[in-house]
């Protein structure tokens, strides 16, 4: 059993495990709505657009997390605004916004002459997570779970029947902005675990896995969280023993879970209950 316990004696690994757990809970539960409301592309876009925020904060010696937060929330607002207008198709508008912002981030990085300081933003660096980072992660995770619990009936209704929601005076827009805001917060903490490039996988893959296994919403969220936590632990051990990228290990573990669920569903030939 030493191989299981040894890594946990390492304080860096303890912090990493706590961070991955918090991130997994937030992204996996929120991810269920991302998948059901077909916002996967938005999740990917949000994680990429926070890059210029981080770089600008770095260049001005501001707090990087605050830079990421500001960029994420501005993007969430921008996406909400674009999708209300409908002069452009939503996915086109998001595609333009997100590649443009990401390019701005890369351009700003290239002015610093070195990409080395930013590899942890691009690819994640969970071992560099500090105690105060953990506090922020816990706050975001708590907020996500609280909102999903308190507004469950409104989130559910606006997801499958926005017309009825509007007819009873419940503005679907408000819920959408709320979800985008939560998504921005979650992505900001996700970037510390998996980096800009892979964060959307944490939102999408566990939730998509769960959606193959059940068609009950609460069970879907619980399963999604279970997949994320299992993948976080498996990724941590893989990374510890084989000295490979942690973010990539976690994402690949999620992908394997998805593959297993897909195979199980295909073999049984029916959607579970």
């Amino acid at each position: 059993m030493h191989w299981l316990i040894d890594p946990l004696r390492d304080p860096f690994m303890q912090t990493a495990l706590a961070a991955a757990t918090l991130m997994g809970l937030a992204s996996a539960t929120l991810g269920v709505y991302v998948v059901l409301r077909r916002m996967a592309f938005i999740g990917d876009a949000l994680s990429h657009t926070i890059l210029p925020g981080v770089v600008i904060a770095y260049l001005n010696h501001w707090n990087l997390t605050v830079g990421a937060l500001v960029a994420g929330l501005l993007t969430a607002l921008g996406i909400g605004w674009f999708s209300r207008r409908q002069t452009l198709r939503e996915d086109t508008a998001i595609g333009i916004l997100f590649t443009g912002m990401f390019a701005l981030g890369l351009l700003l990085i290239s002015t610093t002459g070195s990409f080395r300081d930013f590899t942890h933003i691009l690819f994640g660096s969970i071992l560099g997570v500090t105690r105060s980072d953990l506090g922020l992660m816990a706050a975001v995770t708590g907020l996500v779970l609280a909102v999903l619990w308190l507004f469950d009936k409104e989130l559910e209704l606006t997801s499958f029947d926005p017309t009825h929601a509007e007819a009873i005076g419940l503005r679907a827009d408000w819920l959408r902005y709320g979800l985008l805001g939560l998504l921005a917060l979650t992505v900001v903490i996700g970037v510390q675990v998996a980096g800009v490039v892979l964060t959307s996988a944490l939102l999408i893959t566990p939730a998509a896995t769960a959606s193959l296994l059940t068609n009950r919403l609460p069970r879907m969220m619980a399963l999604s969280a279970a997949v994320a936590l299992l993948s976080a632990v498996a990724g941590l051990y893989t990374s510890y023993y084989f000295d490979v990228s942690l973010g990539a290990s976690i994402v690949l573990a999620c992908t394997l879970c998805f593959g297993a669920a897909w195979a199980a569903r295909s073999l049984s030939g029916r959607r579970g209950g």
């Binding site: 559910e156 017309t163 509007e166 007819a167 068609n215 009950r216």
Partner: protein
Amino acid sequence: MSEVILPYSRHNHADPVSGAPALAVRIERALYPGTAEPALRDITLTVPVGTRVALVGPNGAGKSTLLKASAGLLPVQSGTIRLYGRPVGDCRHRVAYLPQRSDLDWRFPADVRRLVMTGRYVHLGWLRRPSRQDWALVDQTMDALGIAHLAARQIGELSGGQQQRALLARALAQEADLLLLDEPLNAVDADTRAVIARVLSDLRQAGKTVVAATHDLGRLETDFDGALYLCEGSEVAAPPGSFTGLRLGQERPESEHSH
């Protein structure tokens, strides 16, 4: 009467103006956001409390659009809509809207009982959970429409007729006084047709007001008290020999135009 109405909250309605009709429409122009061509023009309709009125016309005539505007789902650029003498939005709990089935995402992981329960949400508002009475009413309504045995099914597993009954159950569970029904009989099986016809006559017994879009001309006389004929977004005269019933107020007082 400076009471503030906050939609989807505990202060979500005002009392009806006494003597006012359930629905009074005077539309000069209404259009979908982002389009130039009006979807509705020059429509006058008065639906007295306790009557059943059919909106009749071919596809694209504006029946659904008129119902949407009455439910507050479409802004009216020029003209007014009054529900119980009040502007749209002042008494949402009193008005139930039955959408077309294509308006919902049926693949969403919700069961039938939950879908019917969403009819109670207008009375609940933020943060309040359904009470035992709410659930009892939902179960009772599903039973009356013959879908109680489907309660735990995911909504996408139902047939078209069963989906239509579930949506009607939701509209009934709202305990509204005015029901706006968009093609309730569209593409449903004979059993569902019979169930819905029974519900319509029960609603009449209960003194409820019904406005329904339909293109089934055969049952107008038995199921409805009056009919409004529409074509290309405008009111048209009833075809010769067809049912008209109640006078719904086509003659427009010239002095009351509002711009």
